[in-house]
Assembly symmetry: C2
Homo-oligomer: 145 residues x 2
DNA sequence: CTCGATTAAATTGCGTGCAATTTAATCTCG
DNA sequence: CGAGATTAAATTGCACGCAATTTAATCGAG
């Protein structure tokens, strides 16, 4: 019986599987990231730091799609752990520049095998992975890295 | 230069787009759900209620992949709004049975156009949607159900 | 040069998510 | 039957995510 409520059924939605899959992947990261004593949000923040070395909170937010309300406490935590420094830009004191420390860069080597550990739990074919990445990029917006 | 750190780059990951896409979709729900005065979590909970009418917290958790720590406050909020009732099962007092009210069922009609409103912002082809749903199911279901 | 507008972070408040623990009810097995 | 194991929710504590507001610095039109 496909009635007028059919569209409301959970199983017909894309949103819910997307939401559930996202949480499921973060769950799989947990044991791996626990060894580095990083949360998932701290991990993706460090990925940006490893790649860029130094960046304003605003730019970090653009890359990660997070605002200062989320980032400020995450960055303070990472500073506390010694992986980054937080310093106002002398040219514009409104801007806070985040910079990775030597200790932060050292962490990168300890994180080298994280992607492989996650990837091997996914069991997606390369074609599926490429297809998924493309569709997700379309949902997220367009620009990207 | 694809060096040994290449795998760590944010753009090469699937996890991050998945996480970003999930948040992006929930963001798109917000204005639509605001009209119903529901959060996204409350909305998916009501979807289950509309479909099943009555269910234990445990079973609800299995469907939504959420535990009682998350569900208890959500269900209390929905009870407070008058959309559901919460009552211990007389046959087994450990079990709390959640049941949709008439007011809760009435909300269903007001939510009828929510899926269409979201779908039309996605701009995915039917093939892409089917492909995406399949891949996500694979990710979600790999070690459970 | 100045004052209102704009901008970048920080702060506040609320609602998740989830691990870990607690409480209460039920089950199991001797 | 009865004590320990198991189970279902609730509770506690922490870390997001994001809207809204606040604070401080800079910009820009007049």
């Amino acid at each position: 019986m496909d009635n007028k409520y059919e569209a409301l059924r959970l199983c017909n939605q894309l949103c819910f599987p997307l939401y559930a899959a996202s949480k499921e992947i973060i769950r799989r990261y947990k044991p791996v990231l626990d060894e580095l004593e990083l949360t998932y949000t701290q991990y993706i923040t460090m990925m940006v730091m490893w790649e860029h070395g130094s960046m304003s909170v605003k730019d970090m937010g653009k890359v990660l799609y997070l605002d200062s309300g989320t980032l400020t406490p995450v960055l303070k935590k990472l500073e506390q752990k010694g992986f980054i420094t937080r310093k106002r830009d002398s040219a514009d004191e409104r801007v806070l520049v985040v910079t990775v420390t030597d200790e932060g860069m050292a962490l990168r080597d300890r994180a080298l095998d994280v992607p492989a550990k996650i990837a091997c739990t996914l069991e997606l074919s390369p074609e599926e992975a490429i297809m998924l990445a493309g569709i997700l990029r379309k949902i997220i917006g367009e620009q990207e890295d």
